[in-house]
Symmetry: C2
Subunit: 208 residues, 2 copies
């Protein structure tokens, strides 16, 4: 078996099977209850092989999510930020909802949010992902937003997205889980549009 260690998917069926099992179990069971043993079992391999390829459970998780999530997001951003500024929020809502409806990306996202809540390493991964997206895709975003409080606006969109994942997929705050895609897009579009292009207030003074 020739495999390259690290993030590369590599030609290894075994490594791929472990990653697929890990992605599924982290999303479904949460970080704490998924185990190296149960993941090895599902992938049909010896548990020591999981440790050999990935080291710790934390590293396995980061590999599982980090492998695909960045490319999904990097692909989504230019699509969303090209086109009319007036319909930006709607395009973003449509893309967010699509990622949460596709079981593959939903598992990754929900798993990443679950893990970030209890694992500093996973929280760091989400921060890094955000930095990378802002670094690589800052230009199309700035062109549309006109360089007006970009970092803060993106942070508010991240807040909305993290809240949506928590409220709709983890805590299950009704009626959010009962809304279908089109209803959710109609609801979120105007909210995101205002966060990205509406007036934004933040006091200048530090009074703490």
């Amino acid at each position: 078996m020739t495999t390259r260690r690290g993030r590369r998917p590599g030609p290894s069926g075994t490594r791929g099977a472990i990653l697929a099992a890990a992605q599924r179990q982290f999303a479904e069971l949460g970080y704490d209850r998924a185990s190296m043993r149960s993941i090895a079992e599902e992938a049909g391999v010896d548990q020591r092989l999981v440790a050999y390829f990935f080291g710790s459970k934390q590293q396995l998780f980061v590999a599982a999510v980090e492998l695909q999530l960045p490319s999904d997001i990097a692909e989504a951003v230019p699509d969303v930020f090209s086109g009319s500024r007036r319909t930006l929020g709607h395009r973003l809502a449509r893309r967010m909802v699509a990622m949460l409806e596709d079981p593959r990306t939903r598992d990754q996202i929900v798993g990443a949010v679950r893990a970030a809540a209890s694992e500093p390493e996973a929280a760091r991964m989400l921060r890094d992902l955000r930095h990378r997206v802002l670094h690589e895709l800052g230009t199309p975003i700035a062109e549309v937003l006109g360089d007006d409080q970009i970092e803060l606006r993106i942070a508010l969109v991240n807040t909305q997205f993290l809240g949506l994942v928590m409220a709709r997929h983890i805590v299950c705050v009704e009626p959010l889980p009962s809304l279908d895609s089109e209803q959710l897009i109609a609801l979120l579009g105007p909210i995101l549009q205002r966060l990205l292009t509406g007036p934004i207030t933040v006091g200048d003074a530090r009074r703490s």
Copy 2:
């Protein structure tokens, strides 16, 4: 001490003593530094008894928080929802930020969100809390909001709050953790005002 709570109706003084010690230690030391062992010591019981009553540290935390958080929130809601409808968002923002600045309530809230992300039991606790608040305080809320999509609006506020806790306190999405209280209130006030009283769109048709 006779105490009645949760699933087990038993009048166990031991259980109550463990909960009291847990509340004190989680509040004073935070979730990470409080341990089952130190809580057992303070309660004067064997550590195995703590595990017997509560299972994991996370479950003990949920039981401890479930006793206090509801009263903090039940106290906040009537304050926020009495007064001018025009400044509702600002009052809510001020109250949310105050709860996240006070170390005691912040620890409970951040701990509850962390726990909810990986423990279905804790997610259920947050759902129940929401139901109770809506049930008990639905009338003052409905009076201010005029009965217009109340459940959905409250769900959007919950989403915003969960997202804020994740983005500011757990993932640390800049610049949110660097904003002081007044800046954060100025930022959130108008966002919450629109979620509570602004136009809201959600398609009628189920097209899923």
